[in-house]
């Protein structure tokens, strides 16, 4: 039995070692090296790549990423909770609505992001329509700014908020809401006293998923931010491509990963107490 158990671990374990732990070790060792003349890495060993993170130019990008991810997560909670509530109370149509939430995953994220560009750009659907209606004279600056990045982040990761909240709502004992009404709670009162507190595990799980995804986002800020509103994901990509500074890129990726881990650790601890 224990032999079977050991072998059952082998495929996933092997893959993880080969494609995650070894590359991680490489990235970690690169982060202490000096950039080579044509990309790549060279001696000597240095801490300088980590020190550069505190350069205001890069530090502001890190802070911006943390803040954007936080705002996007907040908006996703505010939009996702009511949506999950609506779906969980739609009786026979539940699966249909749930399907609509999942349908976007059938299309490439890249294609969907381009679709947003067609909607938001100066000659896009929204501006053209508003101009045709005479609401505005000049096109609104909807694309290539923080607003567009936020729209993209919320749009892209909302399902990761809706699904965990939906599943906690589904497990919620309906008799608790009947008991609340029975004791004099009006529907809105019962929602905030009973439903929301009991959905905390789902809200927390969804927030973690959305926050981490947003923090590492690079396609959305790249395409919708137009290279002006860059986030840490774009910075990492730049270092490995145009800037040809692999050691700095490696240090940035490690910092990003450590930030995510620092964020997750307390939640995992609470998860052990049955909250997540």
């Amino acid at each position: 039995m224990s032999r079977v158990r050991t072998w059952a671990l082998a495929p996933a374990g092997g893959l993880l070692i080969l494609l995650f732990l070894i590359p991680m070790a490489i990235v970690t060792s690169y982060s202490w090296m000096t950039r080579g003349p044509y990309g790549g890495v060279a001696a000597p060993l240095t801490w300088e790549n980590y020190a550069r993170l505190f350069d205001p130019l890069y530090f502001s990008i890190l802070i911006r990423s943390l803040v954007y991810a936080g705002i996007a997560t907040g908006i996703c909670v505010l939009m996702g909770f009511p949506l999950a509530l609506f779906i969980s109370r739609s009786g026979g149509r539940k699966n249909f609505y749930l399907g609509l939430v999942i349908v976007p995953f059938w299309t490439s994220f890249l294609v969907r992001t381009y679709a947003w560009m067609f909607l938001l750009r100066d000659t896009g659907l929204i501006n053209t329509a508003l101009q045709a209606l005479g609401v505005i004279g000049e096109p609104l600056p909807l694309l290539y700014n923080p607003f567009a990045v936020m729209v993209g982040l919320v749009y892209g990761y909302l399902p990761f908020m809706v699904l965990p909240i939906f599943s906690t709502l589904e497990r919620l004992d309906r008799s608790l809401l009947e008991a609340a009404a029975d004791l004099g709670a009006r529907p809105l009162d019962a929602l905030f006293r009973i439903t929301v507190p009991l959905c905390k595990p789902g809200i927390l799980a969804g927030s973690v998923l959305v926050y981490i995804s947003c923090l590492g986002a690079y396609l959305t800020p790249d395409l919708l931010g137009g290279g002006k509103t860059i986030m840490i994901g774009n910075l990492v990509q730049n270092q490995f491509t145009t800037a040809r500074d692999w050691p700095f890129g490696a240090a940035l990726s490690l910092i990003l990963m450590l930030a995510v881990m620092a964020l997750l650790l307390p939640l995992v601890r609470r998860g052990n107490e049955g909250l997540l």
Partner: protein
């Protein structure tokens, strides 16, 4: 009779299924009233309609003479003790009990909360969470939570079913004395006839959505209005249109010769139950009669020829067609 609740002509139609069919009965004020019947008989639907979780398709519900069908659950002065108790798992005992008081805009919490907590032996457990408590304690919290808002009527959905059997008898007595001490009308739904008979002042028996009989436990047990009621609240030996309860049936080696109804029978089996013996007999024409007799009453063995008899006044007369 002063009724706190009055049902008249209440029906509940679900798609393809009439759960409650034209039911009317009053619930006397200050009583412990039981609504009994087998599962699926519509008793729970009635309870849910009184609480306001479901709407009757037809009929009227009056609480203190006021129609309440149109009121939402949070507008009705009735409270429910749920079968699963439905305690709020994220709130401690005290917060659970205060929930209703706060919703009803009470100014004073400490006094009423302390009072019900003492009454239900919960003092000192204020900060426990529901999952840290035993089944019996959780039930007392559920009772406290409902009683603290002083409803006109307390609804109890199978109040004893979630407790283990040893606890059940004890809680039964406690429930009755609790009802007496608070004076609030209790309307209890149960499928357990023993529970209904021993606890309640009045019983309504339901079967297949219809009301079969309303009366005191004594009336319902001794003068059942239908074969269903007779059979639901205890066992009955039927000989054509005549029935007699096993505990009123006697077994003897000789006929009693005193005007009692006596039949020669053969013992099929005798089952020892500790406090009594069930003697299963068969009459010459094939009818089966069971007698419940004290252990030391008679020594019988399978195959023995005996006489079974009973007093004519103990007979229940109900034609078979009303089964």
């Amino acid at each position: 009779m002063d009724a706190v609740l009055e049902l008249s002509g209440v029906s509940k139609q679900y798609p393809g299924h009439l759960a409650v069919d034209n039911v009317s009965f009053p619930v006397p004020r200050g009583s412990l009233f039981a609504l009994v019947g087998p599962s699926g008989c519509g008793k729970t639907s009635i309870l849910r309609m009184i609480a306001g979780f479901e709407q009757p398709t037809a009929g009227e519900l009056s609480l203190n003479g006021q129609r309440i069908e149109h009121l939402r659950p949070y507008e009705r002065n009735v409270s429910t003790v749920f079968q699963s108790y439905a305690l709020f798992p994220h709130l401690n005992v005290r917060q659970n009990i205060e929930f209703g008081l706060k919703r009803k805009g009470a100014k004073e919490f400490d006094g009423p909360v302390a009072k019900v907590m003492n009454l239900l032996r919960l003092a000192g457990k204020e900060s426990r969470l529901p999952h840290q408590m035993s089944g019996g304690e959780r039930q007392r919290v559920a009772l406290a939570r409902s009683l603290v808002i002083e409803p006109e009527l307390l609804l109890l959905d199978e109040p004893l079913s979630a407790l283990d059997p040893q606890l059940r008898k004890q809680v039964r007595l406690e429930l009755k004395s609790l009802q007496r001490s608070v004076g609030i009308t209790f309307l209890m739904v149960t499928h357990d006839q023993e529970e209904a008979l021993s606890l309640s002042d009045g019983i309504a028996v339901m079967n297949r959505g219809k009301l079969e009989q309303v009366g005191t436990p004594r009336e319902i047990y001794l003068k059942p209005a239908s074969r269903f009621v007779a059979g639901f609240l205890g066992s009955v030996n039927w000989l054509g249109d005549v029935g007699v309860r096993p505990e009123l049936t006697r077994v003897g080696h000789q006929p009693p010769g005193n005007g009692a109804r006596s039949h020669p029978a053969r013992v099929r089996a005798a089952t020892f139950l500790g406090n009594c013996v069930h003697v299963h007999t068969e009459l010459s024409h094939g009818a089966h009669i069971t007698a419940e007799v004290p252990c030391d009453h008679i020594e019988v063995a399978a195959g023995q020829d005996v006489h079974v008899w009973w007093e004519p006044e103990d007979e229940i007369h109900l034609p078979e067609s009303r089964a």
